[in-house]
Amino acid sequence: MNKNDVVRDLRKIVGSGNIEDDELILKLYTRSASNIDGSAIAVVFPRSSEEVSNIVRYCYKNDIKIYPQGSASELVGSSTPYSDGIVLSFEKMNKVKEVSILDSYVITEPGIRLFELNQLLAKYGYMFPVDPASVKSASVGGAINNDSGGMMGARYGTVKNWVLELELVIPDEHGTILRVGSKTMKYRGGYDLVRLIVGSEGTLAITTSATLRITPIPENIVTIGGFFQDMRDLMETVIDVKTKGIELFVMEFIDDKTVESACRTMNLKIKGEGHYLLTSIAVAREASERVLSTLESLYRSHNVVQLYKARSQEEAEKMGLLDIRRALYPLAMKIAHESRRDPRSKMFVEMEDISVPPSKLIEAVNRLRSLEASFGIPMVIGGHVGDGNIHPIVWVEETDRDKLKTFYEMIKEIRRIGTELGGTFSSEHGVGIKKKERLVEEFEFKKSLKSLEVMKEVKKIFDPKGILNPGKMF
Amino acid sequence: MAPPIKEILRIIVENVIRVGMPIPVSRRVVFKWAEGLGLKKNSETILFTGTLYQLVPYITSIVGRLESIEKSKLSSLLMSFGAKLSGIADRLLVRTPRGEIERQYEVLRRIVALLKKTDTRFGYLYEDDMYSGALLYDMGLDNYFREHAEKVYDRLKDLGVETLITVDPHTTYIMKEVYREVLPRYSLKVKNYLEVLSSSDLTPYRIIRKDVTIHDPCYYARYLKIVEEPRKLLRSGGINIIEANRVRELTFCCGGPIESISPTLSRSVALMRMDELSTSCKNIVVMCPICYANLSRVKAVDTNVDDISNYLYSIYCE
């Protein structure tokens, strides 16, 4: 179909202010944090589920591809329009519809950012406890479809534990609106379609509304941060804390290179050398001192060099105990840009996303370090050690053609480590375009290629014509 | 629809070249407020208004008019003739409400009264009180800005001025930071009156028990770090500050800076900010004439937007 006709027809559905085909806007909406650029014929901003349904029906009839998009902060190409189609942006569907404290849920449209949702919930003393490092941009729709996790993942897990109910539009002939799940904590009505959608990267259905579970903000949180000369000591501390039956709230680390850059470039209240380990525990106020001293002695028994303690979340924030970890990605960007040679070229900074069972953490880190040595490409690491999720970050300059090939080889090897140690290459960032190949390899490694076949059949049921976010995942 | 950006820029530049200000008002508008206050003309330290308080009522009238043109969708047609717009501006100037002008003059008089309570001795330049060029700088009219800045600075030097006391965030930022960057030989000292007042240990004459919320201007809060001074001055006069959702470094702009380029968008921004402020308290304290104007045009009847100097005057002056 002719591009102008499509734009004209869709304009009739959403109104003239809610569709754009200006060249600059198209470029802006076909890019994401993944560094992959795509292309599209229009960006459409629906305002209601009905509009989404009408758009989908039209696209089904006319074989037009649809790419749902939240804040485009994903890192794997899952939101990139792979080949011409329309981008469905949820920026204008950003209203919170209901907050129920008694029933512990919030009903919201998909476009609101997690941070803004939490600002609203904080007024009630509640929170939606999934806090990816990208909370300030990540939208509810994106977080659901990416099954995001965050620093509090050690305690609360990922999005999949916090979605009760979804309203969806599926890409069939009618643009059918589905309502799956229930507002209640317990629900056993057939297959669990809610959890099928969570993490499906917008390939099965379009999320137009979500009922999310919420939880009270803990009474108090104590935090300890320490610097270790030896990564082995740090990892042994992790394992020690985890085997002591302490319920973690946050457990995160960054390596010595990132620490060095942080101490040099950030305005921090804490200083140290070596690798940094941060542990937070949610406690009743009375128990604060006791828990802190238990943690302290565990840290000390593994040769911590400098150690900082905070008796409350405010104190921890004031000291910058959390900021230094939050800065992992920006710091890696900084280090990467310091090495840039051509000011007109871009740095490709890839944040990988492997998970291993915590018992395998030491081995994983050793293998990562030896990759760095053998490939000669610099790497920093950090991540959510509490749940075994490590983010190795590597970079190369766009114009450094010789190195690019080695770079992609190295990334393959990094991903392999996750799989081979009984974990995965994909913990919270998804598969998208970048990691399709590895998905096949991982199932091959598990001798379970049939699983992929099952997934493809599922996709066909939801999306018979293959028009919804095609080219992703497989 | 693309706004008539080029035309608006041209008008701003023409006015600054012609009358030294972005709005073509007579020089008397600038210094009339100071008549009868007995401020000395020759002084090393002067009160430098940057003419913003005086111009704001005129800007408001023009923006109101621009907004209705933008709404009527006639703008591309009407405004592609920049001259017509200048014509409109001229006619509107006559119709600018006296009350509003007087209100802004009063703000300046109160600032003078407050400064007189401190040890600082200062004068005023009357017909040589000048516009800083803030709008030229904001709009990226760098070459015109440099020319203007050179003129202003040369004149100030000729008059033997060493130190400026400024009264609004835009003028303060421009005179303190930007002139220094643009004019290598720049040597003036610049102090904001809130800093002067706050470092002077004034004793309150009256305690006022009132709840207010503060709208931090972007330039004070983020660029100049004038954040605690106004709070301290209000609190020691008994005022209870109820902080709104976004304050201090995270303050949310009033929308003023784009009032001439996109009056409708400017209004939407003001509405969002007003909503945030008025849910925390109906008494809103502003510290900038542009914030005052832009928030006032969207305020509800039960909401009260007032310049900080009026509060400070009631607290510290008889």
């Binding site: 600059l24 300030k136 840009h337 000011p343 007109r344 | 009219l141 760098d142």
Partner: protein, 107 residues
Amino acid sequence: MFGERISEEVFMRELLKCSFCGFCEWVCPTLKAEESRLYGPRGRVNIIIFAIKDGVWTDLGLRSIFNCLVCGACNTQCPAGIKISEYIRSFRYYLISREFRPCFIAK
């Protein structure tokens, strides 16, 4: 950054640090009003990149650049430390001094 000191290279050296993370958007008043990426800091930074690096420029780009409040809220959020509003302001000068036609630098 002022006047003639500004070149395509100055923009690219700094703005290519943008990782498209979008952290800067939640504080932006014009984005909140327009509910569109085009009118936020991430949009503006990338519009400048598209104009200079890719040679793509339209009237909407002009509108977005001149609708920025230069309020600086975005600067407080950028993990790459880009002084976003200063570059937007400077890009206005850049546009004006080139009669509103940005110069496309080929790779």
